[in-house]
Subunit: 200 residues, 2 copies
């Protein structure tokens, strides 16, 4: 088994061959893990939540669901949910502009740069930031269509496990979101924390 | 005023200068209008529902909302809703693969090809199919996260009106979805119909 730490506020890309499993763990809990996946030999094909949920008919990924690519092909199975279903596919990856929307002017670590840098370490330029799967992230859509993000209830040691359905490059980002925005709670109040990933 | 018909199952791209308005009308009602918008002088910037709804905090576009690009910049204001709020931003643009998922084997008109062809008529190759805004499309997210599409209640003559916040290329596709899928009603039972667009 291969194990890596994704430092708080950072990202990491790993190759996951077809048939292997990836476990993502939040050791301290309440830490959003932005997840992206690309077909290893053609990174123009990537995991797409909007193509996934019109097939699963669920905006929240559930154990047993299959994540589809933007070409609607199976990329990964969600084989084990050790986080009680607290996952999101609605929130776009944060980027510098996101922090500026909230009045933050200085450079801020963000999941989009984490993705770009993780992929560049493997030699892949990224032009488009795909919509992520945000594991360990608590959102809900209310009856009137309102998108809300209540406090994050994910416990320390919570995890998810995915099974690769094709050779993949998987990217995990410890979401650096640390602004105090009323009604928009992403991570723990104490700030972002590290994630662990295990290739099984 | 400039007026165009978008034939049933077809797409059309039009330039919309900053400050001008685009009205999209479903003369027969119950016809999904897949809508895409690009920055006219740099089509790498396109309208993004997932970046829009984390700002509006609504998965359904509402009169008064501003549609943002994937760079989180204002592209268009939703200035008038003449369709009673029946709009969607959840459903990925249909493509050949979507119809094949439902067992349809022959070539089928689809919004992704309509977008590509409409943009190619203006000289722009499209590598990525952006998530569309689907006007006149009825979806809801239930409390458990289920994505549902009840029958389409949009009346003949219903319309929406948008105001360009930058020079845009706007693409409208009369969604060709015509399969009878239980619990997944997109267009009128009688099949797709034409749309009208007006540049004001």
């Amino acid at each position: 088994m291969e194990r890596h730490e994704v430092a708080a506020r950072s990202g990491l890309a790993v190759r996951l061959p077809e048939g292997r499993r990836l476990r993502i763990i939040t050791p301290k809990g309440q830490q959003a893990a932005d997840f992206f996946a690309y077909r290893a030999d053609q990174v123009g094909e990537w995991l797409s939540p909007t193509h996934t949920w019109v097939t699963t008919r669920s905006v929240r990924p559930r154990q047993g669901d299959t994540f589809l690519s933007r070409f609607r092909r199976p990329m990964a199975d969600f084989v084990e949910d050790g986080a009680g279903g607290v996952h999101d596919m609605m929130i776009a990856a944060c980027d510098q502009g996101r922090y500026e929307q909230f009045g933050h002017r200085a450079a801020h670590a963000n999941c989009s740069d984490n993705l770009r840098n993780a992929m560049q370490r493997l030699g892949h330029p990224i032009e488009v930031i795909p919509q992520p799967v945000n594991f360990f992230t608590n959102t809900a859509v209310e009856a009137n269509g309102a998108l809300v993000s209540p406090p994050n209830p994910v416990k320390p040691g919570a995890y998810v496990e995915l099974l690769a359905r094709m050779d993949l490059i998987c990217v995990v980002s410890s979401c650096p979101f640390d602004l105090q925005v009323p009604g928009w709670t992403i991570n723990a109040a104490g700030g972002p924390s590290e994630l662990l990933i295990e290739l099984r």
